[in-house]
């Protein structure tokens, strides 16, 4: 794959992301999921953890943003292929020369970026409505953590979408999959509170490593080594996710063409 092709794909990703954002701004369900739900969780968390000081407030701001990232990945990215199906545009998207996964990558990018807005809003709520003096302890490391987390979340989302398409039964479990990830990934409390047997489950979830990196760099609670390990784990899982996703997309499109069910759920 040469650079020209990559640039072309990148343009597609950006165009799809822009279009997705514009389209989703009018959808009440999506606006709630990426913006209002994390903000409500942030406000609730700030009230609950209010006695623990500014570090806890920063923990809540970052953690509530992560809940928005996961929920948007689960509900919006998970349904990104089906939404094209319902709009009658799936056939056209599959037929164009650009690989379909590049298009879905752009949609996931839009979802993840939109969700990050809730983190910013949560920050301002904590600062102005609750009066906390919030400082990101390691701004540069935090920024890099955000970038790597975005890649990790998008890659994870690329697996979820085809799985939901090929297994409508799994999609019905969406509602039940939201809060367990909040719990196992330590978005709003340390996983040390959980029973020891759940720790391996946390370790195999990319959002957990995103939480470690973002919490650690924002509160200064993690050493550089811990941050580097969490970056490494996010990148490692991203590579694995992208590899699995490429296989899943091939399988999904083959099945859809073979069974003539591309436009049918």
């Amino acid at each position: 794959m040469n650079v020209r092709v990559l640039v072309k794909y990148w343009r597609t990703v950006l165009t799809v992301a822009e279009m997705t954002m514009r389209q989703q701004m009018t959808d009440g369900f999506i606006v709630f999921t990426v913006l209002f739900q994390p903000i409500i969780i942030a406000v609730l968390g700030l009230w609950m953890l209010g006695d623990k000081g500014a570090d806890a407030a920063m923990f809540v701001v970052v953690g509530s943003g992560l809940t928005g990232l996961w929920s948007s990945l689960l509900f919006i990215s998970g349904g990104s292929i089906n939404s094209e199906r319902w709009s009658g545009t799936l056939e056209s998207l599959v037929a164009i020369p650009t690989p379909f996964e590049v298009v879905v990558f752009g949609k996931n990018l839009a979802n993840v970026l939109q969700s990050l807005v809730s983190m910013v809003v949560g920050y301002f709520i904590a600062a102005f409505a609750f009066g906390y003096s919030l400082n990101i302890q390691e701004p540069l490391l935090f920024f890099v953590s955000v970038l790597i987390a975005v890649v990790a979340f998008i890659s994870f989302g690329l697996i979820i979408a085809p799985i939901f398409v090929m297994n409508p039964g799994v999609r019905a479990w969406q509602n039940a999959m939201e809060f367990p990830v909040y719990v196992f990934c330590g978005f709003l409390f340390p996983i040390a509170l959980l029973p020891g047997w759940t720790t391996p489950i946390s370790y195999i979830l990319p959002p957990y490593w995103a939480a470690v990196a973002l919490h650690g760099t924002s509160t200064g609670g993690a050493s550089l080594d811990q941050t580097l390990i969490s970056w490494g784990m996010m990148l490692f899982f991203s590579v694995i996710d992208l590899f699995i996703a490429s296989r899943l997309f091939k399988l999904m499109l083959y099945k859809a063409r073979a069974d003539a069910t591309l436009g049918m759920e």
Partner: protein, 266 residues
């Protein structure tokens, strides 16, 4: 007598069929996931968050609050979908075209959600006892059962009101989600109301669940039925107010939709 029998039949058929319609697309295992796994995961999340915030000695406070909060799953989502589903599926025009008693139709939508919601809360309490160490040894169980039933009914009252909004908006999931998540704060399931700003306490007092959760917590601490009776009656009144408002709105929307010809306009 004949009218009474007809209305009873209408109530029961409406209750049963609307409930079947709500879940018919699910396999039993998926239904179980939505009724058991989702509430359990939500409870775990808020109980762990609460104990992280205030210490493990307060676990019961969060377990009871979040167990009763499960009533809102059926009360809010179930109710709005039961009522709004008629519009989505194109059956609303037929309902409004029949001479059926509107109150019976309206209440029929609530009945199975009340039963289902109460069962959900009982299951949540069961998880609380089995997995989270909730101690019910000092609890007046029949009184707790009554609290569960009354709180679910009052939450369904709010759901009836929201369900009417589903008749005039396509963004009903936004409204549902918003109210459901706000209840996590304003019902007092996760925060101590006496430590909240005055405006939060004011809003909280006008919502279902608030008094039910307080009463359930008192019962778990060993309070008698007489001690929680005022809270129970308050919850009943709140439920009636929302239910009546919902019914009036339902009746008003029928008239407006017929006059404007917007019964199924999205």
């Amino acid at each position: 007598m004949k009218t009474f029998n007809n209305n009873l039949r209408l109530f029961w058929q409406g209750a049963l069929l609307s409930y079947i319609a709500l879940f018919h697309w699910m396999r039993p295992i998926q239904y179980m996931a939505s009724k058991i796994l989702m509430p359990l995961a939500q409870m775990f999340f808020f109980v762990y968050l609460g104990t992280y915030a205030t210490g493990s000695q307060n676990a019961a406070y969060y377990i009871v609050g979040n167990a009763l909060q499960i009533a809102a799953v059926s009360g809010i989502y179930g109710m709005t979908m039961s009522i709004g589903g008629d519009r989505d599926n194109g059956t609303l025009a037929y309902i409004f075209g029949t001479p059926a008693n509107r109150l019976v139709v309206f209440m029929g939508r609530a009945f199975m959600n009340i039963m289902d919601g109460s069962l959900g809360v009982v299951i949540a309490f069961m998880w609380g006892v089995l997995l989270m160490g909730l101690d019910l040894s000092h609890t007046n169980i029949p009184a707790l059962a009554l609290i569960i039933l009354v709180t679910t009914i009052s939450t369904c009252g709010l759901g009836l009101l929201l369900g009417c909004l589903a008749l005039i908006t396509v963004n009903v999931m936004f409204v549902n989600n918003f109210v459901y998540f706000l209840l996590l704060i304003f019902s007092g399931a996760n925060v101590q109301m006496d430590k909240m700003p005055a405006w939060v306490q004011f809003v909280s007092n006008g919502l279902p669940l608030t008094r039910g959760i307080s009463a359930a917590r008192l019962l778990v601490q060993g309070a008698s039925f007489a001690e929680i009776l005022p809270l129970l009656l308050g919850e009943v009144v709140i439920g009636i107010v929302y239910g009546v408002l919902g019914y009036l709105l339902f009746a008003a929307f029928e008239v407006i939709a017929k006059r404007r010809g917007t019964l199924e306009v999205f």
